[in-house]
């Protein structure tokens, strides 16, 4: 299995990093997060339509770049580093992955090109965001294909053209395509901690949808693993941003006649953080390589999600604490990354849920 990034992958990272720094500086993030829509359509077109960032992991026949979990992870990591504000994770990562893993060939051909070039904003509607075992408990499909039930939290549903709903039916779980204007569909934006990631409550009352594929238990776990691996990358990108800016701050801030970074209390905290982030980053990159190789530990994505989320929260706490009072102000940017860290910590399973999931797999394999 690969243990290092290839030249092409490093080049991809450089391109993505430059594009995001250019198109999505923190001033732009602040502007977008203050709007109801939550993203800038011009920037969306530039990043997805022109630069192809939504299709990096999608098959070339469907308009994507044909990359794997590693390439998706590289984009996600840079997105997390710059705190990109927009429906990229919902559309490219969540909906894109669900279509690849569960949709029939014909529907993939019909739906993926729009996701790949950003002309379609899609999202994945799951009625449980904690544990794949709970999915399908609240939304069901009737014999006539109509969907009913509620998803308490759906990413970027308020701007989605296409909702891919996982619902339980007579034959098990299915993936259903629902258009944004469908009758019986109610999308109610929710007040959120992290304004850079918009959430809505989605209620379905006999909503007409089209079943695009079955979702077996294995497929649901594959979808979950791929989303969690990408999310771990996004988280670790945020952790690195928090860590680097915090270390830099300790070199510039003077108290008692010396830079505060010369005090061991801060140095040792930073050294411990570096270790925690390095370990989580290694697990995160490993999770993508395992998915791409179809090898390694089956629980690699859970290890990555648990470790990255914990490391990022450590970095976020230190980011506030080491800045002192200024770090607790709205004006300072640290809280934006802190709130994303908190949201990502619990999205698709808390670290504790992932550790339990990993132990269940590990004992199943023994």
């Amino acid at each position: 299995m690969q243990t290092e990034f290839s030249k092409e992958q490093n080049l991809l990272r450089d391109i993505v990093s430059r594009a995001l720094r250019d198109k999505s500086p923190v001033t732009a993030v602040r502007e977008s997060m203050a709007t109801n829509r939550g993203y800038d359509p011009v920037v969306w077109q530039e990043l997805c339509g022109d630069a192809g960032l939504a299709g990096v992991h999608l098959p070339e026949v469907h308009g994507g770049a044909g990359g794997g979990a590693a390439e998706l992870g590289i984009v996600a990591e840079e997105m997390g580093r710059t705190l990109f504000c927009g429906p990229w994770f919902a559309s490219a990562v969540m909906a894109g992955t669900a279509l690849i893993e569960a949709a029939d060939e014909e529907d993939r051909g019909a739906l993926l090109p729009g996701v790949a070039d950003g002309s379609t904003i899609a999202t994945l509607v799951l009625d449980d965001l904690n544990d794949p075992a709970g999915v399908g408990g609240s939304i069901s499909s009737a014999a006539d294909g109509k969907l009913s039930g509620t998803a308490a939290m759906v990413l970027d549903a308020h701007v989605a053209d296409l909702l891919l709903v996982v619902a339980s039916g007579a034959g098990g779980l299915g993936l259903h395509a629902v258009e944004s204007g469908a009758s019986g569909l109610t999308i109610e934006p929710l007040q959120v901690v992290d304004s850079t990631r918009k959430l809505s409550r989605v209620a379905l009352a006999d909503v007409p949808g089209r079943c695009v594929g079955e979702v077996s238990g294995d497929a649901l776990n594959r979808i979950w693993d791929r989303i969690c691996s990408a999310l771990a990358h996004e988280i670790i990108g945020g952790a690195q941003h928090l860590f680097e800016t915090t270390v830099n701050y300790t070199k510039e801030r003077f108290q008692f006649g010396r830079p505060i970074g010369s005090f061991q209390a801060l140095k040792h905290r930073c050294a411990d953080l570096l270790l925690e982030i390095e370990i989580a980053r290694a697990l995160t990159h490993h999770s993508a390589r395992c998915l791409d190789a179809g090898a390694g530990e089956p629980w690699a994505a859970s290890m990555a999600k648990a470790a990255a989320a914990d490391a990022c929260m450590s970095a976020a706490r230190a980011g506030i604490q080491l800045r002192g009072g200024i770090g607790f102000t709205w004006e300072n940017d640290t809280h934006l990354w802190f709130k994303r860290a908190k949201g990502s910590e619990v999205l698709f399973g808390t670290p504790a849920i992932h550790r339990e999931r990993m132990m269940t797999m590990l004992e199943g394999a023994a």
């Binding site: 243990t3 061991q264 050294a271 290890m303």
Partner: protein, 414 residues
């Protein structure tokens, strides 16, 4: 020279010279003359100027043939590398051969009761009287000192200059009346180290190495070899299986003595390998709180291994500058060992009160619990590693120092 070429040359030489019925020292002298004792050394000193990778090929062939190599185990490896790097030709002539043949054993006399992390704050005295160096002071944590013939000694020869500049480095004859080694018992019951007391011990001027006042530079050379594992080539050099022949008996005895201080080292690393088997055996694998802690341990262990592999790959590819990756790895080992000890305690529950044959895994788990505290101290404490990481990796500013100026004026332990 290519690996294949090295393999065939070593094989041919062993065909002609290797015999199991030679006395050990005689064989090692033949090995030295043949140039296969230390192939990474220069040709004028028993070597062939090989790279470490080429030297590893030689060692591999020796292992395959069950041929006994030169004496490299324990602190004598540090001595020979230090003398080779910093010694005079006269010192190399006198000391290198008996190290490689195994006739002489060595120990390291660095740490003191009053200077642990702050090695350069040492206060053992070296005074030049009537043309000889007279040594007074105490050292501690000296592996093998109770049977060593010589010691690598750092002592203060000038108290009126800043601390790093007043240190000299000596090759001390341990077999003299002024030197006494006493075993030091550790909290885990083992006696892996000694304290060494020097009372008017004598060093002839020709056994000063690297020049007067240059001891810190020489000490850093020794420490760099120690970090690269030259003192721990114990396990890898053992001969597999019960080999027949007189030379193996002598060799096994040498290895046994050298390895004895390290028998508990796997336990101080936490014995991660025993966690899942013990959790299954005791049924605690079903306990949700224990499962969480086991999962954290597996994440730490797996992630640290992956990070270390990746750092190694970047180093080989030359894509990153040389950073003290060792400090990060050492800190990771401490965190892993502590978490493993914590998990072993959760698994053992009240049985963790027991020790020895009455306890789990014939005392191994009990030994883990009382040995893990060593890993965050030995070879540089966690706190020192964090200083190194924050200053050299993260570029954080150095702190205020209270040890500038002449050493005589610096506050130190009574």
């Amino acid at each position: 020279m290519t690996p294949d070429r090295i393999r065939s040359e070593v094989s041919a030489w062993l065909d002609a010279n290797w015999r199991v019925d030679r006395p050990l020292i005689e064989w090692r002298n033949i090995l030295l003359e043949g140039g296969w004792a230390a192939p990474h050394w220069p040709e004028e000193w028993y070597g062939r100027g090989f790279t470490l990778d080429q030297t590893a090929v030689v060692a591999e062939v020796f292992r395959e043939r069950d041929a006994v190599p030169a004496a490299q185990v324990g602190p004598r490896g540090l001595a020979s590398e230090t003398i080779l790097a910093c010694g005079s030709d006269d010192q190399k002539r006198r000391f290198l051969r008996p190290i490689l043949t195994g006739e002489h054993t060595w120990c390291q006399l660095f740490s003191e009761p009053g200077s642990g992390s702050d090695l350069a704050g040492l206060s053992t005295r070296a005074e030049l009287k009537d043309g000889k160096w007279i040594i007074n002071g105490q050292k501690v944590w000296n592996t093998s000192a109770h049977h060593a013939d010589f010691g690598l000694l750092v002592a203060r020869s000038d108290w009126d200059v800043p601390k790093h500049q007043g240190i000299s480095y000596f090759l001390l004859d341990m077999r003299q009346p002024g030197v006494e080694a006493r075993p030091l018992r550790q909290m885990n019951g083992h006696q892996s180290f000694n304290e060494v007391f020097m009372t008017n011990a004598v060093v002839p001027p020709e056994d000063l190495i690297g020049g007067e006042g240059n001891g810190w530079h020489v000490a850093k050379t020794t420490l760099s070899f120690e970090r690269r594992g030259f003192s721990r080539r114990v396990r890898g050099s053992s001969i597999d299986g019960a080999k027949q022949g007189p030379i193996y008996e002598e060799y096994e005895e040498e290895l046994r003595i050298a390895a004895e201080p390290y028998t508990w080292y796997p336990q101080r690393e936490g014995r991660v390998d025993l966690v899942l088997p013990r959790a299954r055996e005791t049924g605690t694998i079903a306990d949700p709180a224990t499962r969480q802690e086991i999962a954290k341990l597996i994440c730490l262990y797996t992630g640290a291994r992956l990070a270390s592999d990746s750092a190694e790959a970047s180093r080989k590819a030359g894509t990153t500058e040389i950073i003290p990756a060792g400090s990060i790895g050492k800190l990771a080992a401490s965190v892993i060992a502590r978490q493993a000890s914590h998990v072993h305690t959760m698994i053992s529950r009240a049985d963790a009160m027991l020790s020895g044959p009455d306890s789990a895994a014939d005392g191994i788990i009990a030994e883990v619990l009382v040995s893990v505290p060593a890993i965050s101290i030995a070879g540089g404490t966690d706190e020192i590693q964090r200083n190194i990481i924050s200053e050299r990796v993260l570029g954080m500013p150095k702190g205020y120092r209270a040890d500038q100026g002449p050493f005589r004026d610096i506050k130190r332990n009574a």
